[in-house]
Amino acid sequence: MSSKKKVLLKVIILGDSGVGKTSLMNQYVNKKFSASYKATIGADFLTKEVVMDDDRVVTLQLWDTAGQERFQSLGVAFYRGADCCVLVYDVNNSKSFETLESWRDEFLVQASPMDPESFPFVVIGNKVDVEESRRMISSKRAMTFCQSKGGLSYFETSAKEALNVEEAFSAIAKQALAQEEAGDFNSDFPETIPIDLKNDRDGCAC
């Protein structure tokens, strides 16, 4: 099964506007943080090569999108073929947490993965660097939510202080790779059905 071909893993990052999707991506890929990333319009992606546990090198393609929900409807083109979806919220903004579920549903509708039940989502609560008094969503509440959705992985990060970002994305890479391989297996299936033109003559009798 393992081809020599380089593996490209496609990851979609979703969440309300201003929760820090662009910042997380840039912290992970470029090790940089800026307080003034412009609001994302349309879509963009960054790529990063990752060495997996078994020394395999994969390429992560991280897709950043606009947070305002009305801009999602045109995004079908890049949802398709995703290997993992990251749902980001701001731990200091309860609204952004409450919308996680609809982001997840929206993704499943648009990407329509083969097996929605097992499709890997990773939840990230960002901006944990902000003073505790402003925090609106507790870790416990977030983890309960993740449990209720079938045991989604959960990370709390600070893109600003590079806290837990590496860990979150290496988990994302792992899950994406697992999904990709499962997908490979599935899509290889039709190829095992022999289509041999020479046999046509024999088969034509029926």
Binding site: K5, G18, A39, G42, D44, R70, L74, A77, F78, R80
Partner: protein
């Protein structure tokens, strides 16, 4: 139409010239040039034939192309043959094909004009003698001057390119037997009186519906006709634009025999009405059936020629590999071919390389532009910036293009208005044309005033007094609107839903304002404490302009409740505010801007879909090859233009360029959807890289996204205008064709509506045409085709091109606005259901 502007007015033809009978043939007067003892006979000439030494039209040199007879070894006492057989008696070596600039003619100018206008298929009966042009057989020696006269016997071939949509002026290049090429001569037919007259005559003589008054007859036809009287002119079968002069057997073979021997490029020139009976193939060759010709040329083949990118890439690959600044994945790719294979599936290095190759190409183009245009250039860059400038020159009218492109200063602006009443003294269109081409001066404050007109705050026909009154009432209204939400913020909203929406919108605006144009000085500082201690930005501070921005956007949110604030709007407001530095004025300017931009922000994204669809149709029509490529790369959703279309290139250009771009777009001078042509111009600029290197949607998107900050505005504007003109002409051509039904359109098929699926349609779909969209009266439902629908198809005339309603709308200067009802239904604010 432009009339010729000769240094002297052409003399009226003498009566004797027309009255002479054949018997008098041998007794014609000899008009000798007075200042020259010896002259050459001017057999034929054509005016307004230009040399284009630089890409800039202002450097074009007008002149005459002429066929002259000098005293040769074989003295012929009649250089005016009446049939081609007797013509052959004139020795080719005694004939010179010449080009002389108008400026060098002096007194003989009148003679040239007279011969040009003689309107006869044979040379004038009177023998017109002019000073002999300097005979040259090589172009290389004549540095600095482009004039030449080459013995026809020395000419090996002529490269003849008729005018077309793509190549505005027909051109002719003489190649000598010694292997030299003279500068390309461009026939400015619309300025040339004799060509205009000949066209009219042709139109009278042969009814040719496609000729449009003989419109497709051009000056180059005439030159070939002259030559054919004296020498054997054979069209190359292999290279139809090459005409061989007295070719040897060997030449004939190597250039392919198929071409019709010594046939006039235009049948009707020879045979008048018989042209309609000639086989279509013959007609298509040189006869330029306008449909065939224009559509053939519209293939943009010149752009294909620019794909030397790969050569550059290869040549400098080594240099890249050694450059420490190059990203490691690129270096690896170059050093290790195996990596290249492994990375085929996706590699960002490829995109990096593509962009970089583009840079080199740009540089080489700049260098190339320094040179004179010769045969090879015409061949290689059949279409180029030269073509663009030429087209623009046509339209410039009174002002020269370089004057037109100077920014409008405050003084010029003030002079547009009556000093007493403050009313505009010229037409709004004249003002718009100036702003469209030149922009407004960036530093003298003219924008503050002019933008109010462009954004519809002031009426074009208002007086100073009326504008004062207008602004005063708008100030009051702004304060009222601002007070309304302010009050509600304190006293609470009527419903919980509204309260929720309000809170959400306020947060959104706050977040976006704090990340909008913070590199622009007025938005930079964080010198005052945040007024709201609960804001997430309470810790970082703010400044007075950021607070004004928030207030204006909240007021807009109040003013247009059906839509409310949507991301991207802060990008649209900030330049207006920065120019006005007055919140009420900026607010109303923004309201004016939003009237045309509203559709982009609807909840159902119908406006954005429509614009992406329009771009899709436009690329299909204007560059089918590129379209096919994008289709194969799953990229015909044109999603990679989303950002550019939503906020009008705000993220792609530098701040100062954005201001210049927007004021041009606001004029609606050519089209209210001119921004679509900016998109096309950007796309075309990068077409070769895209076609050569980008094979997947993600690659295309990344490449286009990363153009941000690298796009040169001025050339983009020029290219966009040229593309607009070309589009306009293509539509005209197709419409004209539709008015003259051709043989049953076997290819006419009704396209089935495809879904928005990104998978490429089968090839047959592409070849079929969207006949359903021919009618402009299709209902709005039908117009809502999904992005990627195929409408205008085909390259050659045998395939059908159809102008979709979306494309037709591009010709309108009327701004499309969203109706109140539509806004209520699709706005996504709280005003609606």
């Amino acid at each position: 139409m432009t009339s010729p502007t000769p240094p002297h007015s052409p003399p009226s033809p003498t009566a004797s010239f027309y009255d002479m009978s054949d018997d008098e043939e041998g007794e014609y007067n000899t008009i000798r040039h007075t200042s020259s003892g010896r002259g050459v006979k001017l057999l034929y000439t054509k005016s307004k034939v230009y040399v284009h030494p630089t890409p800039s039209a202002k450097d074009n040199i007008p002149g005459f192309i002429a066929l002259v007879q000098q005293k040769g070894p074989v003295e012929s006492n009649d250089a005016r043959p009446t049939s081609s057989s007797s013509a052959r008696s004139v020795h080719a070596s005694s004939l010179l094909l010449a080009w002389v600039p108008e400026s060098s003619l002096g007194d003989s100018y009148d003679t040239y004009v007279k011969v040009d206008l003689s309107d006869s298929s044979s040379p004038p009966r009177q023998s017109y003698l002019v000073p002999p042009p300097p005979t040259t057989t090589t172009h290389a020696n004549s540095v600095g001057t482009y004039a030449f006269a080459v013995p026809v016997s020395e000419i090996y071939s002529l490269l003849v390119r008729p005018p077309s949509i793509g190549w505005w002026f027909g051109s002719l290049v003489a190649n000598t037997k010694a292997g030299e090429s003279f500068p390309a001569l461009f026939f400015h037919d619309s300025e040339c009186q004799s060509t205009i007259l000949q066209r009219k005559k042709l139109a009278r003589e042969s009814f040719d519906p496609f000729g449009d008054g003989g419109g497709m007859f051009w000056g180059g036809d005439e030159v070939l006709r002259w030559l054919k009287r004296y020498v054997n002119v054979e069209r190359s079968g292999a290279e139809p634009s090459i005409y061989l002069i007295d070719p040897s057997e060997e030449d004939k073979v190597s250039f392919g025999r198929k071409a019709t021997t010594s046939k006039s490029p235009r049948n009707s020139t020879d045979g008048g009405a018989s042209s309609s009976a000639s086989p279509p193939a013959a007609k298509r060759d040189g006869g330029m059936d306008p449909i065939t010709k224009t559509l053939k040329e519209a293939k943009w083949n010149f752009l294909e020629k620019l794909s030397q990118v790969t050569t550059f890439t290869r040549r400098t690959a080594q240099a890249v590999a050694e450059n420490p600044k190059v990203p490691p994945q690129v270096r690896r790719l170059i050093q290790n071919p195996e990596v290249q294979v492994l990375q085929e599936e996706f590699d960002s290095a490829k995109i990096y390389l593509a962009r970089w190759a583009m840079g080199i190409q740009e540089q080489s183009e700049r260098e190339r532009n320094q040179r004179i245009w010769t045969a090879n250039d015409v061949l290689e860059m059949e279409e180029s910036s030269v073509g663009e400038f030429e087209i623009l020159d046509m339209e410039a009218g009174k002002l020269s293009m370089s004057d037109l492109r100077k920014p409008v200063t405050l003084k010029e602006w003030k002079d547009f208005f009556d000093a007493q009443t403050g009313r505009l003294q010229i037409t709004p269109d004249e003002v718009k044309e100036r702003i469209f081409h030149g922009g407004l001066h960036p530093d003298d404050g003219v924008r503050k005033e002019a933008w109010m007109f462009l954004l519809g705050v002031y009426e074009w026909d208002s007086s100073t007094e009326e504008r004062h009154a207008n602004m005063n009432s708008r100030r009051d209204e702004y304060i009222r609107l601002k007070g309304a939400w302010w009050e509600r913020m304190i006293e609470g909203h009527s419903t919980a839903e509204e309260e929720e929406w309000w809170k959400e919108q306020k947060n959104r605006i706050e977040k976006d304002v704090h990340r909008t144009d913070r590199t622009i000085p007025i938005f930079m500082g964080e010198d005052i404490p945040h007024p709201d201690p609960d804001s997430p930005f309470a810790d970082v501070g703010t400044n007075v302009h950021l607070e004004q921005m928030k207030d204006m956007l909240l007021t807009y949110n109040e003013y247009n409740k059906d839509l409310g604030y949507v991301q991207g709007m802060s990008d649209l407001l900030s330049p207006i505010y920065a120019v006005m530095q007055d919140d009420a004025a900026a607010f109303w300017g923004f309201v004016g801007f939003m009237e045309r931009m509203e559709r982009n922000f609807l909840r159902d994204q119908s406006g954005m879909r429509k614009q992406l669809l329009t771009l899709d149709h436009l690329v299909q029509l204007m560059d089918p090859k590129l379209y096919l490529h994008l289709q194969s790369a799953d990229s015909t959703n044109f999603f990679f233009f989303f950002r550019m279309l939503l906020v009008w290139y705000k993220r792609e250009f530098e701040w100062v360029d954005v201001l210049r771009l927007w004021e041009g777009l606001w004029t609606d001078y050519l089209s209210s959807n001119y921004h679509i042509f900016i998109a096309l111009a950007i796309l075309e600029r990068h077409r070769d890289v895209i076609m050569e290197h980008l094979k997947h949607f993600d690659e295309v998107l990344k490449y286009i996204n990363e153009l941000s900050g690298t796009i040169e505005l001025q050339s983009t504007l020029v290219r966009a205008e040229s593309l607009y003109r070309r589009f306009q002409r293509t539509v005209e051509t197709i419409d004209k064709k539709d008015n003259f039904p051709l043989p049953p359109a076997a290819h006419r098929r009704i396209s089935s509506t495809r879904s928005a699926s990104a998978s490429p349609p089968p090839k047959t779909t592409w070849a079929a045409s969207g006949a359903a969209s021919t009618s402009t009266g299709t209902d709005r439902g039908k117009q809502r085709q999904s992005v990627g629908d195929v409408v205008a198809k085909g390259i050659g005339a045998d395939k059908e091109k159809v102008i979709s309603p979306e494309l037709r709308q591009l010709l309108s200067r009327e701004v499309e606005k969203v109706s109140k009802a539509e806004l209520k239904e699709h706005g996504g604010g709280v005003g609606g259901a």
